[in-house]
Structures are given as C-alpha cells and as structure tokens.
Amino acid sequence: MSEFLISITPIDWLLDPLTHDFMRRALMVSALVGGVCGLLSCYMTLKGWALMGDAVSHAVMPGVVVAYALGLPFSLGAFVFGVGSVALIGFVKQKSRIKEDTVIGLVFTGFFALGLVLVSKIKSNIDLMQILFGSPLGISRSDVNQTLIISFIVISILLIFRKDLMLYCFDAKHARSIGINTGILHYLLLTLLSLSAVVGLQTVGIILVVAMLITPGATAYLLTDRFDQMTLLAVISSSFSSVLGVYISYWSDIETGGSIVLVQTLIFLIAFLFAPRYGIFKNQSLIKND
C-alpha cells in the first residue's frame, strides 16, 4: 500500500477516486455538508452555543433510530428529537432551579442513552456504527436527496435572515427594541441547528458532528474582524477540510469522520498559531499600525 502511495502522482491522487460513483457522491455530499455546517458554525460560536450544538446533535439519536424502524426519512425523526430536546431543555430550566449547562448536559445524555437502548432493542438493520461515526462513502441515493433538500433549506434561511441573526447574536436587546421578533429568531436558529446536525451526522456521525458546528466558525473568527468574511472563511475551510478528509480516508483507509474533523482541527491549530492579528505568533507590526 505504501509503495503504491509513493508511486502515484498528485493528479492521480485527486482524480482516481472520482472514477468511482460512491466517491463522487461522498465528495459532493461532504463539500455541501461542510459548507452548511461551516456557515451555521459562525452563529454558534458568536452566540456561544457550542454546548447547545453538542446537545442537539446527540439528542437526535433516538429520532434517527425510530425513523429507521418506522421506515420514515431519518432526517424527520432527527429533526423532531432535536427540536424536542431544545424545548425540553427550556422547560426544565424554567421550571426548576437547576442551571442551564447542567440541564443541557442532563437532557442530551438522556436522549443519547435512549437512542442506544432503542438501537439494541429494535430489530432492524440499523448499523450503530454508521449513526455514531457517519459513513459518507456508503451514503445511499435517497440519503443524498435528503441532504440536498435540507442543505437548500438551511442555506436559504441563513442567507435571507443573515443580518437579523447576526444582529440577534450581537445585540438582541436592540433587535427587540426596533420591533424584530427575537423569540422567532431564537427558535429559527435552534431549528437550523437541528437540521444542520442532521446533515452533519451523515458525514462525521453523531459523536463528532459538533466539531462541524463550531470548529470552522472558531477558525474564521481568529482570522477576521468582518462578519461577512468570517462566514466566507468558515464555509471555505469547512468544505475544504471535508473534501480533503474524504480523500485522505480513501487513500489511507482510515475512518472518514475522524479524518474530516482532524483536518478541521489542524486548520484551526494553524490559525491559532499564525493568525495575523489574533494568533499566538501574531504579526506585531500589524497590531502597532492599528
């Protein structure tokens, strides 16, 4: 294998996987999912919703299992449980004296455990590993269609309400005082989070999908002081790492989800160290000129 790797040219490295139908599909889906999650990750990091992202992505587990068992589109089940978990978190927080982060941790692990129990109890051909770790290389045609539809919905809503959601993250009080319904924006953002978690788990699985929802945003945040640039950088870095991760996974036969998230984390590390203004080794002249 290693001899084979050395003998191929970079062009072959890029083009050879494209001769396979399943790889073309995997690359397209990964790039798209990376873009969707990357775009949303800007709002998650700016709003401080990383834990919420973690919660929702884990809480969709029982929904996926139930949907599979009933023969429904699994995105539907995941969506219901994603939004349901958020509603439950809000309810428990409001009706008890427990702090929010505790409630979040409590609810999402409860849902996740329910999912695990359901998988072991419901007799079906659900592959637990596929749900937990994703499998873009084995994605079916109907799953591709679902991903396309959900991605289109998420991207459209994010583009239409881009400014409102940005304002909501920055200064919700001002948003309210000029007559914008921030309650709707709050639940809109949570809905988008559930939908993105659903598409994200296809490529990297439930356990790692939270990385897709925060890492690209965090990376971009270190590189710019402009919101529009931040979204662009997040989308590019996220799509790029997803595609590169799939390639690496193909050639070295490693787990795809892990490969994608590892590339993302490496890109974050580079930004963390060398970002012109906010990196550890920042460009001092840039700071002084300011």
Partner: protein, 265 residues
Amino acid sequence: MNPIFKSHEKDFMRIEADQVCVDYNGTVALYDASLNLKAGSICGLVGMNGAGKSTFFKALMGFVRPSRGKIRINGIKVNQAQKEQSVAYVPQNEGIDYSFPVSVWDVVMMGRYGAMNIFRIPRESDRRAVVHALERVDLLDLRERPIGSLSGGQRKRAFLARAIAQRASVLLLDEPFSGVDVPTEKLMAELFLQFRQEGHTILISTHDLNHVRDFCDFVVLINKTVLAYGETSEVFTSENLNKTFGGIPPNPLSGPTSSKDFVNE
C-alpha cells in the same frame, strides 16, 4: 437632522406610564410606577441596584409585561411604537460583546434595520443617515474600524450614533456615563441639548447623581415605586435621596457614589 416627529406640540407626551406594576414569579419588582414625559425633555431615572430601575426600563422597552397598569409611547402601545422605530435603546458598555466581528459602520447601520425590508439591504438614504449620525458623534473617520478597537468613550458614541441613525423620538440610555472620557462627555452634553431642541425625549437610567444634576431637566427617584418625580432642582433634596437610597444616602453635593464610579472607570 430634521426631525419628522408626529407632533411638535409642547405638551405632547412621549412617555406615559400609568400605575405600572411588574412582578417576576410572584415577587414584586415595581408597583404603581407612574411617569409622564413630554416631548423635548431629559429625565434621569435614579435608584439603587435592585430598586426596580432596570425593571422600569425593561417595561418601557416592552421586554417585560406589566402585571397591571399601562404604558404608552407617543400615545401608542410600546410594541407598536417599536415597529415605528420610535424607541432607541443605547446599551451599557458592559452589555456588549466587543470581540464581535463588526465595524463601527456596521453597528450604526443596525439602527436602520427596522426601516429596511426583510433582506436588510441598505439604500442610499440609509447610508446617508449613517454618515450623518457618524458625523454628529465625530466618528466618521473611524467607521471602518472593528468596534472592539475603540476606546470606551468612542464605543459609547458609536451606539449613540446608532440611535441617531434610527431617528427615534424616544431614547433610553442605560448608564451612559460609565467608562466615558471627557471629550465624549462634552459631546454627549451637546448632543443631548440638541436632541431636546429637536423634540426628542431622553430617559437616562443611572446611579450617577452628579451627571443627573448636570444633564437632566427632570428626575425620577425609584425604590420599588416612583418615590418622587419632577424638576431636578425640586426633587433633588437630601430627604428624597435618603428615601431613595434607604438611609445610606450619598452626599447630594459631592455625590460620592458617582465620583467613586467615575474613578473606577
């Protein structure tokens, strides 16, 4: 700026609060608070922390619903007034995430969102309003800078510019004097006088007695309800301040509360 406010009559009431009560899950935060502010006035809202000052503020902004009583802004309900862009809120410096990736221009443009369509695409008139607002607070040169790179005083001016760009007739300011430098304070004094001339009504929530005396025509003293309300010179008596600050009065002449805060900033 040419204010296009509905009424220029002298006695037109911009803020009317009538026996407003607010409680949170059974705990009374404010009761029987009444207040009438006409067009072209500057009013200080003074009270200790936890005295219901911010609750009253929130009620005026429609963030909490009074359990009793009613509030009118420009003669209409608060949420209607907000839709008409009549109410501008200038936040405390502490309440904002200054590492957010927005420029000064972006922040001031947020004042125009309510007047734009759903996509919030600025028109020429919006850009002119932003330029004009930035000129009035003397920040036009810094418009491309990230909001986080500004000083405390400049930040405050940026949010004032946002309120100006919004062309609201009622301005609600939360602790506007904390963390501002001397040039900004001078600029604010001038701006407030101009606002009053133009028929705006400004309500300032603060515990800073010195500035209230310098800036405000009227004062409302709050301790769970409106203790005293009227022209600053009449209301600012040591007896009233005693009641407001519950027996531990700040010296009304030297105002230690405010001077200490000022040094801290």
